[in-house]
């Protein structure tokens, strides 16, 4: 049970990260490696705010989002204004953020075990009925994830959202509409990294600690989730793409959990995860073929 809850919690937290990766990778067609830096950046901001300044936990969410958005703007400026290639501008930001994260958090490990956080504060504790105590985290994460998802869905239906999609598909159209495509890219990157940073913020509070290496491989998890989600649910119409991305992330975490729970040699976990990942991809491809015939 605890494992299932852990899968759901982590899956949805990384689901928010995956939403960010979805914007850059699928919509903007921009392989953004900033994610490995902006995920721990959100976590670093959070532990600093809670530990150093005693900021109410709920405020860390918007502040972490804004912090991440700023990081995204920097990546965008480096790419658009300084004309650095997309992959490289992400790598530059990711590398630089390592130092900034250490500086913001104060050290490589920061614990906030004894502090209030979004899951454990007087308000939440007072409204949680006894029988829901174990499900408190998963409910709160679910609510935040849903808010993030619906806000993103809403944004995608605005004019600015349409332009964002157009830049990735065919940027000539955007230029012909008299809109600066560089600006649209910067906006997209800032929203994406804001979401990633938000996900780091929640992760730090769920784990009640910050560790400098939590960002390593974050972009890979995000990409895997996006690909699992979008390819498995390609033909499912009642699911929005954003929902499938979040479900993809939960499935990815479930793969890891299955490998662990099956009692396979712990040293083989990563390989098993890779194989399960491959199986999911192949299954979804088969489905596509069947539909095509």
């Amino acid at each position: 049970m605890a494992l299932l809850l852990s899968v759901l919690e982590q899956g949805m937290i990384y689901g928010i990260l995956a939403l960010g990766v979805y914007i850059t990778y699928k919509i903007l067609d921009f392989p953004d490696l900033t994610v490995d830096g902006s995920f721990p950046f959100g976590a670093a901001i959070t532990v600093r705010l809670i530990n150093g300044f005693g900021v109410p936990a709920i405020l860390t969410l918007p502040i972490a989002f804004l912090g991440g958005a700023l990081v995204g703007i920097c990546t965008g400026l480096i790419h658009v204004k300084l004309k650095v290639r997309d992959l490289l501008s992400g790598i530059i930001m990711m590398t630089g953020l390592y130092t900034i994260n250490l500086w913001v958090a104060g050290s490589g490990y920061v614990a906030i075990f004894d502090k209030e956080n979004i899951f454990n504060n007087s308000f939440v504790n007072s409204i949680t009925p006894g029988f829901l105590v174990n499900f408190k985290n998963v409910i709160i994460i679910f609510l935040i994830t849903m808010v993030a998802k619906y806000l993103l869905d809403w944004y995608m239906s605005t004019k600015s959202g349409f332009l964002l999609r157009a830049v990735g598909d065919n940027d000539t159209i955007v230029t012909s509409l008299g809109v600066d495509k560089g600006l649209v890219k910067i906006v997209g990157l800032s929203i994406a990294n804001g979401l990633v940073s938000l996900s780091g913020c929640i992760y730090a509070q769920q784990q009640r600690s910050f560790e400098i290496s939590i960002g390593t491989g974050a972009v890979v998890i995000g990409l895997a989730s996006v690909i699992i989600g979008t390819s498995l649910f390609k033909k499912v119409t009642f699911f929005r793409v954003t929902s499938s991305v979040v479900v993809g992330s939960i499935l990815y975490k479930a793969c890891v959990a299955v490998a662990m729970f099956a009692g396979i040699s712990p040293n083989a976990i990563k390989l098993i995860t890779a194989v399960l990942f491959l199986i999911i991809l192949v299954i979804s491809m088969d489905r596509k073929k069947v539909k095509a015939c």
Binding site: L4, S6, V7, Q10, A111, F113, Q207, V256
Partner: protein, 333 residues
């Protein structure tokens, strides 16, 4: 009809008896411990081995009355967190967490349960938020720390190198343990007339550059338990050998691999000490929340004569007899 009811009742009673029978043996004579280790690493493996030895000395033997579930988190925080939840859902009798990130994840997962956590190889439990300033636990969690005996190490370096003025230290900027140990080195170095020259790296690939730079500036190098630098120990040794200066280790594995000497920890011993604490908690003699974390009080001297000879360094005469363990060859793993 009556017979049937009787049979049903009897079956039910027997089944209940069987169930309760199982229950009592499960809780008293057989323990389950979930061990979560952060990474594949010689010292951490020794901790685990020592932990099992310590338990065995107290009569809790794997395979007889102890079931071990072992997971290596592969240096991944997500995996650590999930492992801890997995242990909680399996309702293990205790979680043994090896290295700081695992200890933090285990504490986080068990906070609302009554599963005790015993950690080891955590350099600074206070900094990691696992213990209060006075050494008392913050919750149902305790264990052993592998904090270095900085003072003893400095004293030994002074004995070996009476003329030396500077000591170089290479560390990883992200490792909180290293940063706090360096602060301790800097505070104590003056007492022995040393000056510390430190150089921070962020990844293993930078160790070679930092080592070459430090080696050109100092009279000797001393190691911390810094995971990244220790993993690149051979690189550090190469650069130091080129410069003809000795490298001092922080624990036995490093001395075996070519460091000249160390006043250091024996991780097997540390593990044993942890195992004994765990046995106390399992047997109900003490609660994890009542035991302060422990450190190894007396560091032991480890010497590698082959490494000293390689750079033409003469070690004090008494080291041959005084060393807890000495090596006559360099064993590169």
């Amino acid at each position: 009809m009556k017979k049937r009811i009787l049979a049903a009742v009897l079956t039910a009673v027997m089944a209940m008896g069987a169930l309760t029978g199982c229950g009592s043996t499960g809780s008293k004579d057989n323990y389950t411990i979930g061990i979560m280790q952060y990474a594949v690493h010689g010292s951490l493996d020794n901790c685990r081995e020592g932990f099992l030895q310590g338990l065995a000395e107290e009569g809790i033997v794997e395979g007889e009355n102890l079931t071990i579930e072992y997971v290596n988190a592969q240096a991944d925080n997500g995996t650590s967190a999930m492992t801890a939840s997995n242990f909680v859902s399996k309702k293990v009798d205790m979680i043994c967490a090896i290295a700081t990130p695992c200890a933090m994840a285990a504490y986080n997962a068990t906070m609302n349960t009554d599963i005790p956590v015993i950690y080891t190889a955590v350099s600074d439990p206070v900094e990691a938020g696992l213990a209060n300033e006075d050494g008392t636990p913050v919750g149902n969690i305790t264990g052993t720390s592998d904090a270095l005996a900085v003072d003893a190490q400095l004293k030994m370096i002074r004995e070996v190198l009476p003329e030396a003025k500077t000591i170089g230290i290479i560390y990883t900027t992200s490792e909180a343990n290293s940063i706090s140990t360096i602060a301790e080195y800097k505070a104590l170095a003056g007492n022995y007339g040393f000056e510390i020259v430190d150089s921070g790296v962020t990844a293993m690939s930078e160790v070679a550059l930092a080592a070459a730079d430090v080696a050109s500036k100092v009279d000797c190098i001393t190691n911390l338990t810094d995971n990244t630098v220790v993993s690149a120990l051979q690189t550090v040794l190469d650069e130091a050998n080129k410069a003809g200066i000795p490298v001092f280790g922080s624990e036995v594995e490093q001395v075996k691999a070519g460091c000249v000497a160390s006043m250091g920890l024996e991780y097997i011993e540390l593990g044993k000490q942890t195992g004994k604490m765990a046995a106390k908690v399992l047997k109900g003699e003490a609660k994890a929340s009542e035991l302060n974390f422990e450190v190894i009080s007396e560091p032991s001297l480890y010497v590698n004569f082959a490494a000293a000879e390689k750079i033409g360094l003469e070690l004090p005469e008494n080291y041959k007899t005084d060393a807890y363990q000495s090596f006559d060859e360099i064993v590169v793993q």
